[in-house]
Symmetry: C3
Subunit: 286 residues, 3 copies
């Protein structure tokens, strides 16, 4: 029994997702197909990377991940299979893997070459499904493609650090279902650069001098009702290990979330400044 996950920008209304699942089950009736998401913003590779990076690790080793985002084949957009961290990724060579594999080197990369035998205008349904089923049956990757040594790199989503190592300039990489604003600054980078120094995070006209580990660390349960804190803005290391700007118990569809209330959008800049020696007291701007 193989686990095959699906990540795409197909949406869940059209026939695409159903057709792909049907095709997999027709080849492998015992497959376990799991949707990661089909709501990637069309052609958005950064979103795909953030979601897939945080989801794939939970799955059993050997899981096959099909990625249907920006996947029409061309001379500039080859199809590849990457064995990374004991997981298989079937995806276009559009930079996605460089964002997922930033800290781990792939074990193997293969350029899929079965396109010549397949007349297709729906690569995921034809090429990717066939590739996934081949891998699930234990097939050797070199039968469906040729091994290559590198993949397309995209580095734009890495935060930058100044030479003096007291400033990190990062950016917003994702807005989640609650309107929380996720930055590309990981807890690891923050700790390595910060080394325990005091700091100020600036996001537009808002500042934060503390990063929580749990949302309700802002709540003083003894003193006040929890509702008193609804709408409080905060910075937190989220469960994916990144700094996130959030509104306590926000609702993007009614009162708004951090993205709408603080005016923070995809690709906006977030700055962290660290202070040497003496402790400085900061008053949040708002």
């Amino acid at each position: 029994m193989s686990f095959i996950t699906l990540t795409s920008d197909f949406g869940t209304k059209d026939h695409f997702v159903g057709a792909v699942k049907g095709a997999i089950y027709s080849e492998l009736p015992d497959a376990k197909i799991v949707d990661i998401t089909h709501e990637i913003s069309p052609f958005n590779i950064t979103e795909t990377a953030y979601i897939l990076k945080n989801a794939y690790k939970s799955f059993p080793k050997g899981t096959i991940h099909i990625v249907g985002v920006d996947s029409e084949v061309s001379v500039h957009n080859k199809h590849i299979v990457v064995l990374l961290d004991d997981h298989y990724f079937i995806c276009p060579d559009n930079g996605l893997i460089s964002m997922i594999a930033s800290e781990i080197n792939p074990t193997k990369i293969v350029e899929i070459t079965i396109h010549n035998h397949i007349e297709s205008s729906f690569s995921v349904l034809d090429v990717f499904v066939q590739t996934a089923c081949f891998i699930a049956r234990g097939g050797n990757l070199t039968v469906i493609g040729k091994e290559i040594s590198s993949y397309k790199k995209i580095s734009e989503i890495q935060p930058k650090v100044n030479q003096q190592k007291n400033i990190i300039i990062g950016g917003v990489i994702y807005i989640d279902n609650y309107g929380n604003v996720i930055t590309n600054i990981s807890k690891k980078v923050f700790s390595e650069i910060g080394k325990g120094r005091d700091f100020k995070i600036t996001a537009r006209r808002y500042a934060f001098t503390k990063i929580l580990n749990k949302y309700n660390e802002i709540v003083d349960f003894a003193a006040k009702d929890i509702r008193h804190y609804d709408g409080t803005k905060l910075a937190i290391f989220n469960s994916a290990g990144f700094i996130e700007i959030a509104i306590y118990r926000s609702n993007l569809h009614t009162v708004g979330g951090a993205s709408s209330l603080l005016g923070l959008d995809y690709r906006d800049t977030i700055t962290i400044e660290f202070f040497n020696e003496q402790k400085v007291e900061f008053i949040p701007l708002n």
Copy 2:
């Protein structure tokens, strides 16, 4: 093989749902995971209760239901497992169970105490998944928590009846996919109080003196084309057993549904007045 259902406010775009499924499959490759919904309005316990109450009963006895709504653990929001009607519910102790269990007493309630061993800012992924897998393997609940005798009660969504027993004051608890307005007045309460008397339901400036059992009871198929009735407002006992205010063949996204067309929203009041003895003829206000 165990059935595990998921109900949450995670949405279906973020990595949360995929990560939770991956974690369950990693522990229990044969689990059958079924989504109930991930589109609960953030932190909305009333919605969660309505949906889960109407869905869980269809599942086989022994099914484990994970509820990821408002689930960050705190001194005021413990995590519990409740065995109720032969189903297991893993959820925060935030009043949800009192809404689901209004007519059935739980067989067992356990406060989960494995948090000390788990460093987590994503309780559902860590604590709830581990608890679910433990139950699925036949583990004894007392190993993962301590038995307790009560859970948090929330009673605000029960309709009220006057002493004279001729008026029921209820409220809107849910707006469904068609824009239908669901009240908290069940067919059972309506029948017990009404005892067959004539009645008038008032919802804002609209009145109804009849409650249908099927939507197309309003249609006189012999006399008129079905399309003649599109847009007619009606009251019905819905399939979940509650009084619902609906628009015949409505479409919330185009012409609108009962909620938008009649101006009825979550928590709005619905009144039913019963009449003694003599039959009174009512003309709907609109």
Copy 3:
């Protein structure tokens, strides 16, 4: 093990989908249930037909497809099971099958007659689930209904051809997740009528004299960066075999898709004119 697919206008927030899955698993714990979509526009049979027609073929022979769109039973809306192309469809007799079966004759049609034993205001949960499980167990269709010889026909979505056979008048039948506009003119009809002649497709004030087979056929990779082509309008034979008006790499939620940018909506007219003998040069209107 049986495959059962679900197609409905229930949405994914309400309890309906979860309840239906629970009911199937209660009867058939080994069933493989696959969602095709639950986001059909309420009561929209044309959409249902387009999506289901393009999804069902990928599934294994013998798959059972439950369709919960406009499914309340009435004298004008019977429930039927249709065996077509070795797939079972359980659906209302509302014209849907005539749209799916335009080129294939059903092997068997049965009117479901088990309603008398079931008190229900949620036909899909009760009648359709019971019917599906009965079929999955290998039951004979005549036990749950009586064989009939025809079903309701709806022909409005077929394109029209003039007597001279140089003009096809079609219409928009579906707008997909990318805002692409799908017409009811198939590659087959286009080829049979066109016979290789030059042509002009007119959609509102836009004209196309070429139909692509892949989206990136418009791109000259040697000459220009791919982003140069973002936003280019084009006509394509889509993967479902229909002529589609698209915008290259469009995003309905941000810059817009073909539907919003070209002002094309469901049911709008698309015309194709074929030219005899001499080649005529056309300049697109925009």
